[in-house]
């Protein structure tokens, strides 16, 4: 399908998630009905799966797992499943789930209906954390409207898990829906679908589903016109920190980091960027031209993660800010695995001492050993994210680290944080 002519009131945007109509009438005028045949047949299911595979769509919730592979796992699990829309967004610096569910709920819900039809699932569940009532209201309204107009093929419902960082980890989310315990599970083989009761669960991030809804209508070709050949499509990035216009920006995959940040209007010269979220990595000025795409970011030890860039201004202490993140992430542990429960606070303590130049000769050796030992030893990847971030800080802020080690405390130590936290965090 090419950019076909349309006779709608709004120009139809075939690959962009922002500026989509938030209401069902506008959604129908722009995009028409749900592109699912009245009785779903295997041929349609195969076509949909092939379309998603050809688009190269990968999960936009952090793990960047190929959506077609995930779908294939659930198709093989033989039906009667549940599609779970993950709008949990535990990352304090991220806003894209909130934005999408408020401004384009029908695209997200359509994506879930399509995925459900493709794997013979029986229902769709949207997860919005407790406390985010305006988002939940928007979703509730959209669900009611779809039901009233007979638009939703399968039943859609809203649930409200607790608002914690790890509550959105997919096994924790599924376990909460199943038994109201918001705890990550230990899974040695992630190709086996998660289950709610006996029903296989297909969990997708909101952005992934919104893209799937457009790909199903306009073909993978429309998706492939944007972004990079090896990593196509547009992407949502939340830019915060020392910028004049913080918020969610939509860019082509592969846009240089500096260009994304420029669109948000940096306040002054930029010392570093925190890319990928609080389990992501710091990126120094020598890498600001790096394309926002998996392979390029991996080559500098970073990843797109949950779609977050935090801008750190020059007058700031990267070690102190990282200590705050480590402290926050330690508090957010689900408390199940020893290396996370004990390791993260210990790492945060080391960083905090370093930032205040309360060093002892063993500090750096101890910190590096702890990072090595904590890595890969949790049931979920929560501790690994912290380890990666701290390692990147030791490289990107190497000058600050060296000064603190020599006993020079940071002159910016007492300043307020430039990062977003749901409650004040002592570094």
């Amino acid at each position: 399908m090419s950019s076909a002519s349309s006779t709608t009131l709004f120009p139809v945007d075939q690959h962009r998630l922002t500026r989509q109509p938030p209401d069902l009438v506008g959604h129908l005028e722009s995009h028409g009905p749900l592109p699912v045949p009245h009785s779903v047949n295997p041929q349609w299911q195969r076509d949909f799966a092939e379309n998603i595979a050809a688009s190269g769509l990968a999960g936009r919730g952090g793990a960047a797992f190929p959506s077609a592979v995930k779908l294939a796992g659930n198709r093989a699990a033989h039906g009667m499943g549940i599609v779970v829309i993950n709008g949990m967004e535990g990352e304090p610096a991220s806003d894209k789930d909130k934005e999408l569910l408020t401004r384009a709920p029908h695209l997200v819900l359509d994506g879930a209906q399509l995925m459900a039809a493709a794997c013979d699932a029986q229902s769709v569940v949207v997860c919005v954390p407790e406390g985010r009532d305006s988002v939940a209201d928007a979703v509730s309204y959209a669900i009611k409207d779809r039901k009233k107009h007979g638009y939703a093929r399968l039943s859609e419902s809203l649930v409200r898990p607790p608002d914690r960082f790890v509550a959105g980890e997919e096994s924790a989310l599924v376990q909460w829906i199943d038994s109201r315990r918001s705890l990550p599970m230990f899974r040695t083989d992630k190709s086996i679908p998660l289950r709610i009761g006996k029903q296989p669960a297909l969990v997708h991030n909101t952005e992934t589903l919104a893209h799937a809804a457009l790909i199903a209508r306009y073909g993978h070709e429309a998706f492939l016109t944007r972004g990079l050949r090896e990593e196509p499509g547009m992407t949502l990035v939340t830019v915060t920190g020392a910028v004049n216009h913080p918020g969610v920006i939509e860019v082509d995959r592969g846009t240089p980091l500096s260009e994304i940040v420029a669109a948000a209007g940096p306040e002054e010269s930029v010392k570093a960027m925190l890319v990928g979220g609080y389990g992501g990595a710091w990126v120094g000025p020598e890498h600001f031209a790096t394309p926002y795409a998996s392979i390029a970011l991996r080559s500098i030890g970073a990843s797109a993660g949950v779609g977050v860039i935090v801008v750190l201004r020059t007058r700031a202490c990267g070690v102190t800010e990282t200590a705050r993140v480590a402290r926050y992430m330690a508090q957010q542990s689900s408390g199940q695995c020893g290396p996370c429960v004990f390791g993260l606070p210990a790492v945060a303590d080391d960083l905090s001492k370093l930032a205040r130049a309360h060093t002892d000769p063993e500090l750096m050796v101890r910190l590096l050993r702890r990072l090595d030992e904590v890595q890969g030893r949790g049931a979920c990847r929560h501790p690994d994210g912290v380890v990666g971030l701290v390692r990147s800080a030791l490289t990107v802020f190497a000058d600050d680290v060296a000064a603190h080690e020599r006993g020079m405390p940071c002159s910016h130590h007492g300043r307020p944080t430039q990062l977003r936290f749901p409650h004040p965090i002592e570094p």
């Binding site: 797992f65 599970m185 230990f186 040695t188 083989d189 992630k190 190709s191 199940q336 695995c337 020893g338 290396p339 996370c340 004990f342 390791g343 210990a346 702890r370 030992e373 030893r377 949790g378 049931a379």
Partner: protein, 69 residues
Amino acid sequence: MPHIIIDPLACNAYGYCAELLPESITLDEWGYPIVRGEPLPAELVLLAKRAARDCPRRALSLQHIRKNS
């Protein structure tokens, strides 16, 4: 060759495994086991099975892991 898998949710740092199988398992500073990543050598399989059996939390197992992410 099997790998030793520790279920970190079940493990409560009893530390028996490190005593029974020091060739493959050491303890971190909080007493939780660290397993060497490589497959278990054949001569240690029996000892590893014993360590698995003796773990009070049933946190240790031997598994042939499939290659995937």
